[in-house]
């Protein structure tokens, strides 16, 4: 089984803080993704990476950046958190073919 670990499950941050969300995979998968999930909006792609140091913007990249220095780790960064970034963040990894596997999610509340 593909293991996707999001170490921070629940976070509360203040407006303006810098926030790091970490995602670690247990195998040598190239494609990694960060999604944001909001009620009624489904899952929206923020950024994705197809190799170390390679990244591309998704559909809603504004206010976010990412880092992939090692193949197994893909980080989502909120440079200056705002209340409208309160959401559930999901990391995903492509295994074989088209299939992607998700982590358990990180619930972020910005106050």
């Amino acid at each position: 089984d593909v293991k996707v670990t999001q170490s921070s499950r629940y976070l509360v941050k203040r407006t303006g803080e810098k926030v790091f969300l970490e995602c670690v995979q247990d195998m040598d998968h190239e494609n990694m993704f960060w999604y944001r999930q909001d009620p009624g909006l489904g899952l929206r792609l923020i950024y994705f990476s197809y190799d170390v140091k390679m990244k591309e913007k998704g559909d809603i990249p504004e206010g976010y950046s990412v880092s992939r220095e090692k193949k197994e780790r893909f980080s989502l960064i909120l440079e200056s958190a705002s209340t409208n970034q309160t959401s559930m963040y999901l990391c995903a990894v492509r295994h074989s073919g088209n299939t992607i596997y998700f982590g358990e999610g990180s619930w972020l509340t910005v106050v």
Binding site: N31, F33, G40, G42, G58, L90, G97, N98, G103
Partner: protein, 114 residues
Amino acid sequence: QQQVKQSPQSLIVQKGGIPIINCAYENTAFDYFPWYQQFPGKGPALLIAIRPDVSEKKEGRFTISFNKSAKQFSLHIMDSQPGDSATYFCAASRGASGTYKYIFGTGTRLKVLA
């Protein structure tokens, strides 16, 4: 063109009923259509997926019906159980693009009554 429209937003059925969730897409370049199941507090988990060269796929009690000409696909859950109560997402992707980006529907919250 990149949207996947999912309906209904929520659904309540009795145990043993057959809930049906529908999705429609515009981009004919999509070549992979998965369904994900998500329980509260958990990440989405792959349930079943289909490619456009087949019209139906079954895995246990879950069936995908695919209509290529109408650009629609649907999930049927046979003999639904209270344990099937979850949120279901359809998605579409274009593997040939090399990026494997998924476009997700907005989700359907299913409740199966005991």
